[in-house]
Symmetry: C2
Subunit: 339 residues, 2 copies
Amino acid sequence: MEVFQLVTPALLVDVGALDHNLATMAAALPGSRLRPHVKAHKSTALARRQAEAGHPGFTCATPREVRGMVEAGLGDDLLLANEVVDLELLSHLGTLARSGARITVAVDSEETIAAAAEARIPEVLIDVNVGLPRCGCAPEAAGRLAETARRRGLAVRGVMGYEGHAVGLEDRGTRTETVEASMELLSAAHREVGGEVVSAGGTGSYDINTVATEIQAGSYVLMDTAYAKLALPFRNALSILATVVSVSAGGWAVADAGLKALGMDHGNPSIEGMEVWYCSDEHVCFAPPAGSEEPLPRVGDRISILPAHIDPTVAYHEKMHLVSGDTVLETWPVDLRGW
Amino acid sequence: MEVFQLVTPALLVDVGALDHNLATMAAALPGSRLRPHVKAHKSTALARRQAEAGHPGFTCATPREVRGMVEAGLGDDLLLANEVVDLELLSHLGTLARSGARITVAVDSEETIAAAAEARIPEVLIDVNVGLPRCGCAPEAAGRLAETARRRGLAVRGVMGYEGHAVGLEDRGTRTETVEASMELLSAAHREVGGEVVSAGGTGSYDINTVATEIQAGSYVLMDTAYAKLALPFRNALSILATVVSVSAGGWAVADAGLKALGMDHGNPSIEGMEVWYCSDEHVCFAPPAGSEEPLPRVGDRISILPAHIDPTVAYHEKMHLVSGDTVLETWPVDLRGW
């Protein structure tokens, strides 16, 4: 199939950039040093490429991601790096673990430990707050929670702590300092908790965080314009193919990718050579910037849009297309959506 | 089924508020005076309620919405209020039109007219730009395009022109003036184009726009916090049920509805009595505002989240649940997603 035959808006993954990103990361963090986060792409087909690049374990954000990975035969070592108290969902994961998958769940409270124990989850990590105001227990509470978990029959593999307030800092020096301060907290907690795993990090700290035994990076494989500002060695592999549906004599154009095709929390997407004015439900409106000699496109032209934040962008789409130039090599379902 | 049994995050539709909104709008704009926009809810089950409230025709934003409505037996009079140049998608709509559905497509250029004619779309509206920098021809070009369309064998039913720059203005006086200025442009174009239809408007102008023969309102039926600022007689019917998964001794809580459950272009969602700090992929972080005596919730508590913008919020979900108090009355697939 040729790219021009695709219905737009369509998620495109450039095979050259993808392969570059897979190889670059596998060289920097080989094997289990990387635990790729599937939330960034929500595709078991893409996860399989990461497994083929040598990474046996994966990070998940939702029970559905864990279930989908097990169903796809990628359940060798799955970490649900999130707190869950829904007993039905957790019990299902407990059942999958007893059927041969390895499933570890993050806990950060008496309540999440009780839920994991009741659901017969075999293994947990103690999730430690290392500075991002989100989940994770206080570092000084980690040892006590690990004891509680072990008393409830859970195997405690170690700790996790996501330095999410650090990974996006554009200045590398500041980023490094913030990561180091976070990892001091996590190391202190780890000394109390024990276990072999220290799980942390993201694309923005993959080569900075030397404390973690495994890095939970996800964005590196597809990238987005927010992470592109950090001068990392990864390339933008994901774009949205859109069709120009209207061009105004007033000097702007409209293409058919809007708020339902693009995660908007990091702001507008980008179009090379153009200034993006705004998005509405099914439209992106754009024009050449003032003083530019770039011509407006014509109705029917295909354009490429770079999303500002891949994770919530991908979650809007049913499928993504692996492309090489004008050729569609494969079409992958985005099969880990939902909860 | 009881609400507490639902997996979170879950879209809830309050039946009392929904019925109020349906009845209030049907009283103000009975029958074909309203052409409800399905893009706001993307659910044929909810569209059926709107049909039962007396509205025979619907507005759609995508070919998939049109196809889904026809498949659901709701194809009496569908307007695709958007420009499409994809011949395969348009030809499918042409086929549906020859099989008994009534399908009208917006056109605003020579190219979109040529595509509609080639795809054997029977009827079109001339889409006129009335001030929102998006689709629509210049008002003075409308008559010429109508001639072109008729020459190509298309029946021209009239004009449409969406005053999207007006519908969200909080001051009713300014909103009224802006709507009136837009409708002067649309009326002028209509005089050149002819036909019985003048299609325009939205929830924010449903009782202001007296020029349009039909109003394309969608948000009124579910509402969101952005439209709630306009003091309209419609009630918030849509909420997201979430579960608190982590509570910090630092004074904040985290629930399991984040960027993949919420359209973010209008900013953060709201939680009654709480200040929302930020959302990440699967989390919303919040705390009582400074000086408040509101207690933090506990891990496992269910909370209600009001989205800032319903359209891109609904598009993330596979289903919505019609609820009355603690009881789930019906579960509706969000079956018009995608393209």
